[in-house]
Amino acid sequence: MEDKEFQKKIRKAERTAYKAILFSFLSSILLIILVYNPTLSIFQSKSEIPTYTDVLEDEDKIENGIHLRTGLLDADGLMTVVNNCTNCHSAKLVTQNRMSAESWNTTIKWMQETQNLWDLGDNQEIIVNYLVNNYPPEKKGRRTTLTNIDWYVLQN
């Protein structure tokens, strides 16, 4: 009899121990999650990321004569340039290059031969005109004057 009673108690103790183990297991998982992912973002589905629709309306917004999305100047041919010249590379690669019409035509030919650029048809003239009118070549000579110097007092 005493043995049975004892075994009962043992079983009860065992159950309590399992509960304790389970509890500590769950709480350690929670702790680990909180440590590595305090914002609990791993439980958020991707659909909770703000949708694009609002921004899409502004995609071709122009402010102070600048096409915001690309930084290109607003002038005749802007959207032709945006649609043909900013798919593969950034507009920054276009605007930092100030070339003549001849050089642009050579560059377009090179992009068609090696970079999978499509035939631009009548748009080529529109694009090249936009570029040479808005980003004309600069004559720098053999060495330019140092410009845009941000003067400061050197403490030493």
């Binding site: 399992y18 183990i21 297991f25 350690s28 998982i29 680990i32 999650i33 590595y36 992912n37 791993i42 990321i49 694009y52 921004v55 899409l56 502004d58 995609e59 915001l68 999305r69 593969c88 590379h89 950034s90 920054k92 690669l93 930092q96 290059n97 100030r98 070339m99 003549s100 050089s103 560059t107 970079q115 999978n116 070549p137 600069e138 004559k139 720098k140 000579g141 053999r142 060495r143 330019t144 140092l146 110097i149 941000d150 003067w151 400061y152 007092v153 050197l154 030493n156």
Partner: protein, 406 residues
């Protein structure tokens, strides 16, 4: 007992799963490139770059340093320029990453895991100067197409890896070997999977140098993804485009490598000098090898104003492609007179060298400090822009900073 083991395993595996997802998430950082409407992630945070770096292009990424950001003797990641030709690879699994040595002139085609490379070959660490072939392009007239680098497309970091020579010799080099060409995991901007963004290389004599590394560490840590993780070829002193990133294959060629950006006008200059703007046929263009002698003043930042009578301490770095800098001089009178100043020996071959000087100005006024390095073959930096070339490479004109004495 069984249950205890189970609990232990469960905790461990969930631990691993959570940490694992954290690691996986980290390695997918470049997924941030994907155009989520207008909200580009902050590239300075994404690449851990100094806010003073200048973005020339964001597709593909091309970012340059400013002279004063390059003041460290060993360039930290935060000031290292980024020059990319294609899209950064997105999925990198270092456990399955391999490097294959093949080509017409390999004795046995062999494939190595990263673990093979690290365990099988002796590791070496060198400080190596890498300068973009087009550094300084912005100063050429007529303008050359491409990213308009000013002075910041150069760095000298500490690279750790195995010698390319050891790996090539392990696979076996046939006697007719002429060149190596690399292939990598980056993808073409147009999305065309048959095109490689860049696949350059170097002649065997460069490939077999002690300092030419297959590197897996930069400044003692894993190479940052944007700089070529997990494996980069590093060939100091040559146009940085030879130092291919994200390498997965090297071909030992029996001829000059003909991969993307090896042919045509890419990384080539006219074999004979030409007048500015002159047309040059492709067959008259020669591949750039060692970069020319050059230097940069990294302290103080341009635009310093100092009190009359004060001494101005300047410092910077000088390098000379395959050679060494033997003399360093500065001028405060637009090149009329030059004063030699001290320049340290390189830590190892192909590392940049550090110079410094203490300058006294004769009276108040506007000054420019110009720096001029001379290499062991007695070639110096020109004061004006050097020979024009169609792609605007190799501008090694003297660096200048503006100073006012008041």
């Amino acid at each position: 007992m069984e249950r205890r083991t189970f609990v232990k395993k469960a905790v461990l595996s969930s631990f691993a799963a959570i940490i694992g997802s954290e690691i996986v998430f980290g390695s997918k950082l470049p997924n941030g490139y994907k155009p989520i409407a207008l909200q580009e992630p902050d590239p300075f945070k994404m690449f851990r770059k100094n806010k003073g770096m200048v973005i020339l292009n964001d597709k593909p990424w091309n970012i340059e340093a400013q002279a004063h950001l390059l003041d460290d003797k060993i360039t930290p990641n935060s000031s290292m320029f980024i020059r990319n030709n294609g899209k950064t690879p997105e999925e990198i699994n270092i456990k399955t990453w391999t490097l294959t040595i093949d080509g017409e002139s390999v004795k046995t085609k062999k494939t190595y895991t990263l673990a093979d490379l690290k365990s099988k070959f002796k590791q070496h660490t060198y400080q190596l100067t890498l300068e973009c072939g087009g550094n300084g392009r912005s100063e050429y007239t007529p303008a050359a197409k491409g990213n308009q680098w000013t002075v910041g497309a150069v760095h000298c970091a500490s690279w750790t890896g195995v010698r390319l020579r050891d790996v090539l010799e392990d696979a076996g080099i046939k006697s007719d070997a002429k060149y190596i060409g690399f292939h990598a995991a980056d993808t073409h901007l147009s999305g065309d999977p048959t095109k490689e963004p860049i696949s350059r290389g170097c002649p065997m004599r460069k490939a077999l140098q002690d300092e030419t590394l297959l590197a897996f560490k930069m400044n003692g840590e894993d190479i940052p993804l944007i700089h070529g993780y997990p494996l980069r070829l590093v060939a100091g002193g040559w146009p940085a485009s030879v130092s291919g990133k994200w390498l997965n294959r090297i071909s030992i060629r029996d001829k000059e490598h003909d991969g993307t950006k090896m042919t045509g006008t890419a990384y080539r200059v006219p074999c004979n000098t030409v007048a500015p703007g002159e047309k040059v046929k492709d067959e008259d263009m020669c591949i750039i090898e060692g970069m020319p002698v050059k230097s940069i003043i990294t302290y103080p930042k341009t635009g310093a104003t100092i009190k009359d009578g004060k001494t101005l301490n300047i410092r910077g770095h000088a390098w000379a492609g395959e050679l060494e800098v033997s003399n360093m001089a500065y001028s405060i009178d637009f090149g009329s007179t030059w004063t030699s100043c001290s320049v340290e020996k390189p830590v190892n071959r192909l590392a940049w060298q550090h110079f410094s000087a203490a300058i006294q100005f004769p009276k108040k006024g506007y000054y420019e400090v110009w720096a001029k390095a001379t290499d062991t073959n007695n070639f110096s930096q020109p004061m004006v822009i050097p020979g024009w070339n169609p792609k605007g490479y190799l501008n090694n004109a003297c660096h200048r900073i503006a100073i006012k004495v008041v």
